[in-house]
């Protein structure tokens, strides 16, 4: 894929209400570059705000706002209607990790039915829109307003859970590697059925880093192995940006990744070592998937 060949028109218009350096802005623009005939379904979350203040809309694609837990079901209804009418559409649910928590049964149900929809969970690892509360995907030891001493539970591995629904397409992506995300969206759009992409979206105010560093932090997550890019389309593979970190190089930038974020302020060295062990375990799991789903 050549960047110069990407469509120049953006589905997200400038002057929208996103925060400075917002990862969702990056992801949403990439979504528009990747797909045509988009219909966006947006449950409560940051993107509710980003969508604009009435009567102005930030998106130049159709958008249906929906209650928090309902998104994948509303999308199922839209997809059914378009199928009935013979209308070509990419019905895309764009939700945060909050939507994936509260709407998990809905998400799981849509996956079980293999609904013809694309779900992107843009994961900024906390409920940012309500003011940085801990979520199912908040990183271990990360401070939020509801885990002021650092989250004591593990980050939920949403993408592998969705993979176990035996749907045709599941991938992880990162706002630090937009060409990879765009390619994944394009491959997903060529497949019928339920497609799921878990997009890692570092959040400047939520993680407490400077707004200029969103892409940099996202890349550090990948380089430290804390976020692994992979893809399943019948075959499981570690994606190109993550490949160099399959073995010895991995782990070098972990301290850099952790220390760059205010949410880990005061973290103990032994906790960083524990994170390193967790990362090793996750890699072993993913590499075993690569063995299993060849």
């Amino acid at each position: 894929m050549k960047i110069s060949e990407l469509p120049r028109e953006s589905i997200l218009l400038p002057g929208n209400p996103s925060c400075q350096g917002c990862p969702h802005g990056l992801g949403l623009r990439a979504l528009g570059m990747a797909l045509e005939n988009i219909v966006l379904v947006i449950p409560a979350g940051c993107t509710t705000i980003i969508s604009g203040i009435h009567p102005k809309a930030s998106f130049n694609v159709p958008v249906l706002h929906v209650p928090f837990a309902s998104a994948a079901a509303v999308a199922s209804g839209l997809a059914a209607a378009y199928r009935q009418e013979g209308i070509d559409a990419n019905v895309v649910v764009w939700m945060g990790d909050g939507g994936a928590d509260i709407g998990f049964a809905t998400l799981s149900g849509a996956a079980v039915r293999n609904e013809d929809i694309i779900v992107v969970v843009s994961d900024n690892e906390a409920y940012m829109n309500t003011g940085i509360q801990s979520s199912g995907t908040t990183f271990w030891k990360a401070k939020t307003t509801t885990s002021p001493g650092g989250k004591s539970e593990e980050k939920k591995d949403l993408a592998t859970i969705m993979l176990m629904h035996r749907v045709p397409y599941v991938a992880t992506a990162s706002v630090g590697y937009l060409p990879d995300f765009i390619e994944k969206l394009r491959r997903a759009s060529e497949i019928k059925g339920f497609r799921f992409i878990h997009l890692h979206s570092p959040c400047p105010p939520g993680w407490r880093f400077d707004s200029s560093r969103t892409v940099e932090i996202a890349r550090l997550a990948v380089k430290s192995g804390a976020w692994v890019l992979w893809e399943y389309d019948g075959r499981f593979s570690i994606s190109t940006p993550s490949k160099p970190y399959k073995n010895e190089e991995r782990g070098a930038p972990l301290e850099e990744y952790i220390k760059a974020q205010g949410r880990f302020k005061g973290i103990k060295p032994e906790d960083i070592e524990e994170i390193r062990r967790k990362i090793e375990k996750q890699w072993r799991l993913l590499l075993s998937f690569e063995e299993t789903f060849r």
């Binding site: 960047i3 110069s4 990407l6 120049r8 953006s10 997200l12 218009l13 400038p14 002057g15 929208n16 209400p17 996103s18 400075q20 350096g21 917002c22 990862p23 969702h24 802005g25 990056l26 623009r29 990439a30 969508s51 604009g52 203040i53 009435h54 009567p55 102005k56 809309a57 930030s58 998106f59 130049n60 937009l178 060409p179 400047p204 400077d210 707004s211 200029s212 560093r213 969103t214 892409v215 940099e216």
Partner: protein, 84 residues
Amino acid sequence: MLKIDCLLAKPSKGSAGKTGLWRTFKPIYNPEKCNHCLLCWLYCPENAIEVNDEEVKIDYEYCKGCGICAKICPKKALEMEEEE
């Protein structure tokens, strides 16, 4: 008799107003250093950068000054300067 305008919003720039006013730092473009790699365009979360073959144009009316473009530019053709 549905007041449809109250329910339907239409696409428009500046749905949050002139977001350029949020800026503390401002990206300044130096065409001599630019290699037209388009990374600044791709990674602008705001869609406030327009590129063509000749140059990079920043929409200062809406650019929020996040600074991602300056960080991502491999040639330092964009640099952040404090607003006056």
